[in-house]
Symmetry: C2
Subunit: 243 residues, 2 copies
Amino acid sequence: MVSGTDEGVTRWRRVADAIRREIGGAASGDQLPPEMELAARHGVNRHTVRRAVQALAAEGLVRAERGRGTFVAAPPPRLVYPIGPRTRFSENVSANGRTPGGRLIRAERIAADHAASRLLDCAPGAPLHRLETLHVANGVPLSVSTSLFPAERFPGIVQHYAETGSVTEALRMEGLADYRRRETRVTAERIHPLDAEHLASAPDAIVLVSAAVDVDDRDRPVQALRTRFHAERTELVLQPSSA
Amino acid sequence: MVSGTDEGVTRWRRVADAIRREIGGAASGDQLPPEMELAARHGVNRHTVRRAVQALAAEGLVRAERGRGTFVAAPPPRLVYPIGPRTRFSENVSANGRTPGGRLIRAERIAADHAASRLLDCAPGAPLHRLETLHVANGVPLSVSTSLFPAERFPGIVQHYAETGSVTEALRMEGLADYRRRETRVTAERIHPLDAEHLASAPDAIVLVSAAVDVDDRDRPVQALRTRFHAERTELVLQPSSA
DNA sequence: ACGAATTTGTGCGTATGTATT
DNA sequence: TAATACATACGCACAAATTCG
């Protein structure tokens, strides 16, 4: 850290850095001084302190509670979610000792656009089922998925999912004994307001976005899905080779 | 003042929702009205509009440029980064048609704490090299890594990395012909201010955090690393089975 | 049971800094 | 140089939630 000239660095950022250093050696649960005191101590306005504290809260280092104070936050444990050739939500959640659940948010029939037809290896304009599903572990919302299924091959997939709350079960009822993951692409972004509602999350939360294609035993795509995992609640694990 | 029962919803959030609806059907690059006009249109103070626009900017929907205006944002293309048993930064970047580069930010000798000793399968307190490295593609910073190496086994790793800018090369100079990825854990969080500086990024950017362990041909850990990828610039690809 | 004090949250007005045109 | 527009900061006031006498 370059000491001396803080030129080009705003005050609230300097205050945030100062507070971050102070709480570096603090235990989780410890209370910060009131904003007025922090402002006086650093010689700035209370708004400036608030902006600094907001930045720290956004990093997850502190948590402010109205009427009580601001506290050093404890990072919650994440659910460990293995991703591999056989990725199954229910099995992954159960392996963490939690109870899985699923709920259909919305379903509709659409026509395949260019991207979808390429992913699912079908003709553009082919009929698809588009399912919006919510997945929970021990009642805590974990992820929201948008799934695309070929409608002609799986005509009853929507009803089967609504009944069972499981993609694996629904596909089995459609006569597909097994499927496997072909490829998974992962990135991260800020949560969408609609997803924030479903995931019962802060509007500024972060999601891990997993775009994947599942195929049958003859390598034909059966599902293209885009899952948004709540980043604070999830840790994806990639085990490269079980072979 | 908006009539109706919006009880419990703050004003800036209502304005943000209104603007979000307005730009829903706008093309990327379109300019938003000035803040003063938005304020007048929604009957609120300019500060309230600013807070709303900040929320939209945090979602990535708009991009505010000082002195010019606020624009509907376009998402930039991401570098595709495969992760598997043989994850090599240089090869991954080259495969995208870009030129890889690396730079040593900082190196120090530390003693293994509990977590490090478990990851590297060594005694607590064992000497380690801790390297902070920056990785770029076509001059654009992509990721920052913190790597831990057993100091006794690889005494010259720091100098070798500084010379070559490549972990693979540095380990080869230490007599290790090959290594492979044992496991990779991925999550996402807000960027750390120091990393934001190194990655030449906005202070509120998102990083994909990849925690991994590399092992030699006898399954002994050679490196534990924690890489923070700039999420807007990276897409991790997991190909489950090359076998 | 109730109100005062404390503390964070929200909003307005204003002044100033700084980058772009 | 001047005008415009976003960025930062300050001061004040009040609301909302909590704590405590």
